[in-house]
């Protein structure tokens, strides 16, 4: 019987690809824990509720172990013909996602437990989203990038409607879902065009094919533009940002924090993988596009942020502007590839710490004020000096004031665009400089309200900050301060773009 199918097997010529279990260990650990949490929910129902948050934290800490051992081994690994790569770059990104997830669990635990929410599902979805993100860090193939993107996005569509009896939350989720699916469709169409033009989904092959000719075919041009535009939605760059303010405002705040930091970072990681590996030879197409997106995002984001009355919407628009700063180095990717890559990654990591911190303060303050209005921060210093100092650190770090970490992020961006030594780069540098001034206005205005104005109605009741939230605030504040003064060489380790390709 068996012998009769053997010839067929020989014809298909299928060999199981070698699997480096160590390289896949972070993903597998996370997957295992995610499955465990789901099983506990199914088996124990309500009795499992208490376990969900600690188990999720444990899952994330456990995932850190293989990431650290991989980093210590210092060896670049690649699997599936270079479709899955583990190098310093991807490890730093993975560590950032896992830490971000950990902080999100810390700031979620009381928020979710105190509200009328499903708990186990919340953490299960959170973990699968993080799984998609760390997968994205290693993905060097159009298909795996797409799968990772959907794996991280679909849980987020659901999580943003988690306040299911709230109309705004429903609006948030629906808008996010429709826009997200639309963006995915555009991107997928672009990917299919690229596959059609190049005959491969592997980014290294795509690069070889698209840069083979002096002038690109229309197929390649359209493909690259569609893919970049699709990710512009994901990172909420202007003019594809319209979903962000409504989604941010309506979604539960911890989810908003997660979307604004991790999901945006994942979009950037995908974009960097694509630009630096897949489309690198076609910088004549993507650089002008990215340049325009960067300049428009930082300017429009900042100008719109000036007029916001709600703190979360303000952070949404400031996030659009920050996306512009992060895009800026990618616009000179071909001139200074190493600098551009490290600048964007440095910005991502520092942005994650300071923006998460700002959201943690928003959650803490809302525990008392039950309000998202910026004016509710008036006089915060009088009754919550600790939170005020923390918020001051985060806001002025976002504004890029030394010695808080944001300055280093902005410095590196400027360094990259100036070193490119092109007119386009220099103009972008001036854009960044002038936008920093506009942005300072709205950050400093909140600073002024917190420190120098009277609390509304003279209500000086202190804010109760639960322990996990306090820990989250401490972690983010310490990172924000220390990274600005002693960044060490953590962010300088991966300086070679060639590593990205693996293969």
């Amino acid at each position: 019987m068996l012998s009769s199918i053997e010839p067929f097997l020989a014809v298909t010529d299928f060999n199981r690809p070698a699997i480096d279990w160590h390289a896949a260990a972070p993903e597998l650990t996370l997957l295992g824990f995610g499955a465990l949490i789901t099983m506990i929910d199914i088996g124990w129902l309500e009795r499992g509720r208490k376990l969900a948050a600690p188990l999720t934290s444990l899952a994330l800490l456990a995932t850190m172990v293989p990431i650290i051992t991989l980093a210590l081994s210092g060896e670049d690994r690649s699997m599936f013909d270079g479709g899955f790569v583990v190098d310093d770059y991807s490890l730093i990104i993975k560590a950032m996602f896992v830490l971000t997830g950990y902080v999100i669990v810390l700031i979620s635990s009381h928020y979710i437990a105190e509200g009328d929410y499903w708990e186990n599902e919340y953490y299960g979805l959170l973990l699968s989203s993080i799984l998609g993100m760390i997968l994205m860090a290693s993905a060097r193939d159009l298909i795996s990038i797409f799968v990772a993107l959907e794996l991280l996005s679909i849980p987020l569509y659901m999580l943003s409607t988690w306040r299911k009896r709230d109309l705004k939350s429903n609006e948030a989720g629906l808008k996010y879902y429709l826009m997200g699916v639309f963006a995915s469709a555009v991107m997928l169409y672009g990917m299919s065009l690229l596959y059609g033009a190049t005959g491969s989904t592997l980014l290294t092959d795509v690069n070889e094919a698209v840069s083979a000719t002096a002038t690109p075919s229309a197929l390649v041009v359209l493909g690259i533009i569609f893919v970049v535009v699709g990710f512009a939605f994901k990172v909420s760059a202007f003019p594809f940002h319209t979903w962000a303010p409504d989604t941010y405002e309506g979604a539960p705040t911890p989810v908003t924090a997660f979307i604004s930091v991790a999901s945006k970072a994942a979009g950037f990681v995908a974009l960097m993988n694509l630009l630096f590996v897949g489309f690198f030879g076609r910088n004549d197409i993507f650089e002008p596009l990215i340049w325009a997106l960067a300049a428009a995002s930082m300017t429009a984001g900042n100008l719109m942020a000036l007029r916001q009355k709600n703190i979360v919407r303000l952070l949404a628009y400031s996030g659009v502007a920050q996306a512009g700063y992060m895009l800026a180095p990618l616009a000179v990717a071909s001139d200074v590839p190493d600098k551009a890559l490290t600048a964007s990654v440095t910005y991502l990591v520092i942005y994650a710490a300071m923006n998460l911190g700002a959201f943690a303060v928003v959650i803490a303050v809302a525990r008392k004020t039950r309000s998202g209005l910026i004016t509710s921060y008036r006089g915060l210093f009088r009754y919550a000096p600790g939170l005020t100092v923390a918020m001051t650190i985060f806001l002025f770090s976002l504004a890029g004031i030394p010695p808080l970490a944001g300055w280093l992020a902005k410095f590196r961006v400027m360094e990259a665009v100036i070193e490119a030594d092109t007119t386009a780069g220099l103009v972008l540098g001036i854009f960044v400089a002038l936008n920093s001034v506009i942005a300072l206005y709205y950050y400093a205005r909140i600073g002024f309200m917190m420190w120098a104005e009277e609390a509304p109605d003279g209500d000086l009741k202190p804010v109760s900050v639960p322990l996990p939230l306090g820990v989250a605030l401490t972690i983010t504040a310490v990172i924000t301060v220390v990274m600005g003064i002693f960044p060490g060489d953590v962010l300088g380790r991966f300086t070679e773009v060639s590593l990205l390709a693996g293969g």
Partner: protein, 526 residues
């Protein structure tokens, strides 16, 4: 490289002692105001002690070299070093900063401005001190930039929280203006880094390089970025509008620190960074800097004459005085720049003192409106006399410190550096001389209307109006002594600064840059 490496710990201790004190104070509960005041005062006295030791230990025969030099890696990935050192150019400014801060804390003993909270106020002041001293010792552009910016946040909050009625507008304006300048400054620093062959932020190397290998047009642009960055801080004429607002709204201590030290960060940037690193561009820009400087002198003086508020008047007088400093710098001669440094120290002592008096007047009269004041010599004679004395110093009376900042600056304009148009600067000289007359006008006018005559009916029997209090005496005496001391013996400062200034101009500025650069580029091209 011209450095002497010894006693490496001293400058680091000097910079970070205030910060360490501030961190300790975070642990003291807010209620215990007295401990906070003691801690802040002791910290600043320790810093002053270190500064005195620095003054004593400094090798004056080698004032042109950087001493106590430290050069280690800081942020490797961006090539920024922790490079610090002190020479004759920065020594007087460090001493000034270390002297002013304890006086501010003595003054704060009984004068924590509304709405209180001594803890936050004093901690911010100490962070400010670290930033200011750090800027003066930094010998690396990134380090300089970071320290330059560190002073922003504390000053913003000082005006925002403890300021007057219009504090929101004033504090935001201060912050936005300064950040606008420093953002462009950062671009210039980066351009300098990438366009210099060495690719370094080390200020010594960049000074030695003096712009070699950078095209003239690019040099002009880079200098323009620094010009705006430092010019906003000075503040020079078109960028000065934040200053009167900030000064008027800031609490007394904030005004004193702002006038005495913060404005000097800008002028220091010119003489330490912009001019030595880009001499050719400096030469090209010098007539414009000179023009803005004399406009500032006249504009500031006219502004003073139009003011009805004492504090605002003093603020505008700062614009005029810094105009003299900038005129001295614009001549690009060692004579002019020495005068500028002297002018910076003198302005720090004198205007700092004037703001102290304004604060005390405000506390007693609850107003600074000049027309409501009067007869201070009758009601508070000692304070009236001090005001008179400091006004004389401010208008540049020979024998007091103010004279040695103004007079040599004007004189230097008669004979500017080789590559700078002589005729233009002689014109500036005449205008600046007219400015001194106007200065005498507004200061005497101020004195006449506030100190002389009979007290107005409104305040005639006000028991609040008392003479100088003991804490005020302690805070003010060192400044008054300094004004006389440096007026009588200006050599104390000139002899320290001169070698370093000469050293900083030891490039093409001496002979005129234009020909030199063309020659080198021709050689390079061939």
């Amino acid at each position: 490289m011209n450095t002497i490496a010894e006693n490496n710990w001293l400058l680091t201790a000097l910079v970070f002692t205030p910060l360490a004190g501030a961190l300790l104070m975070v642990l003291i509960p807010e209620k215990d105001e007295r401990s906070h005041k003691q801690a802040a005062l002791i910290t600043s006295l320790l810093t002053l002690g270190l500064a005195v030791f620095l003054l004593w230990d400094f090798d004056y025969s080698n004032a042109a070299s950087l001493q106590y030099f430290v050069d280690t890696q800081w942020i490797e990935v961006i090539g920024a070093g922790y490079t610090i050192g002190v020479d004759g150019m920065s020594l007087p400014l460090i001493a000034l900063t270390a002297l002013i801060m304890p006086l501010v804390f003595v003054y704060s003993w009984h004068h924590i401005p509304e709405p209180g909270n001594a803890k936050a106020f004093l901690i911010l002041s100490l962070i400010l001190e670290t930033g200011m001293i750090g800027t003066f010792v930094a010998q690396d552009l990134v380090l300089f930039f970071v320290f330059f910016e560190v002073v922003l946040l504390p000053m913003f909050f000082m005006i925002a929280v403890w300021g007057g009625a219009n504090r929101r507008y004033a504090s935001l304006k201060f912050f936005l203006f300064t950040l606008f300048g420093s953002a462009l400054m950062l671009l210039s620093f980066l351009a300098l880094y990438f366009l210099t062959d060495e690719g370094t932020f080390n200020m010594l190397v960049l000074t030695e390089n003096a712009g070699a290998g950078i095209a003239r047009g690019t040099q002009l642009l880079i200098f323009a970025g620094m010009f705006i960055g430092f010019g906003v801080k000075v503040p020079m004429f078109p960028f000065h509008t934040w200053l009167p607002d900030a000064h008027t709204e800031a609490p007394t201590q904030g005004s004193v620190i702002l006038a005495a030290v913060l404005l000097k960060l800008g002028t220091y940037g010119f003489i330490r960074i912009a001019i030595p690193m880009l001499p050719e561009a400096a030469e090209a820009w010098a007539p414009w800097i000179g023009l803005l400087a004399v406009i500032g002198i006249i504009y500031g003086a006219l502004g003073c004459l139009a003011q009805t508020d004492m504090k605002r008047l003093i603020a505008f007088s700062s614009v005029a005085h810094m105009g003299f400093v900038m005129l001295g710098i614009a001549t690009l001669t060692d004579f002019g720049i020495n005068a500028a440094i002297f002018g910076m120290v003198a302005h720090g002592l004198i205007t700092g003192m004037l703001f102290f008096i304004a604060g005390s007047v405000k506390e007693r009269y609850h107003t600074l409106e000049i027309k409501r004041l009067g007869g201070m010599l009758v009601q508070a004679p000692r304070m009236g006399w001090i005001l008179g004395f400091v006004s004389m110093a401010s208008l540049g009376l020979p024998g007091l410190a103010g004279f040695w900042g103004e007079f040599p600056a004007i004189l230097a304009a008669y004979n500017p550096a080789a590559g700078v148009p002589e005729g233009t600067f002689r014109g500036y000289m005449v205008v600046a001389a007219i400015g001194t007359v106007l200065a005498a006008g507004y200061l005497l006018w101020l004195l006449q209307r506030t100190a002389m005559g009979e007290p107005s009916i409104e305040f005639a029997d006000d028991p609040n109006i008392t003479d100088v209090s003991p804490t005020e005496w302690i805070a003010w005496t060192p400044l008054l002594v300094g004004i006389v001391l440096f007026g009588v013996a200006p050599g104390l400062i000139f002899e320290v600064t001169d070698p370093a200034v000469v050293q900083s101009l030891d490039n093409c500025i001496m002979t005129g840059c234009e020909g030199v650069q063309t020659a080198t580029s021709a050689a390079g091209g061939g």
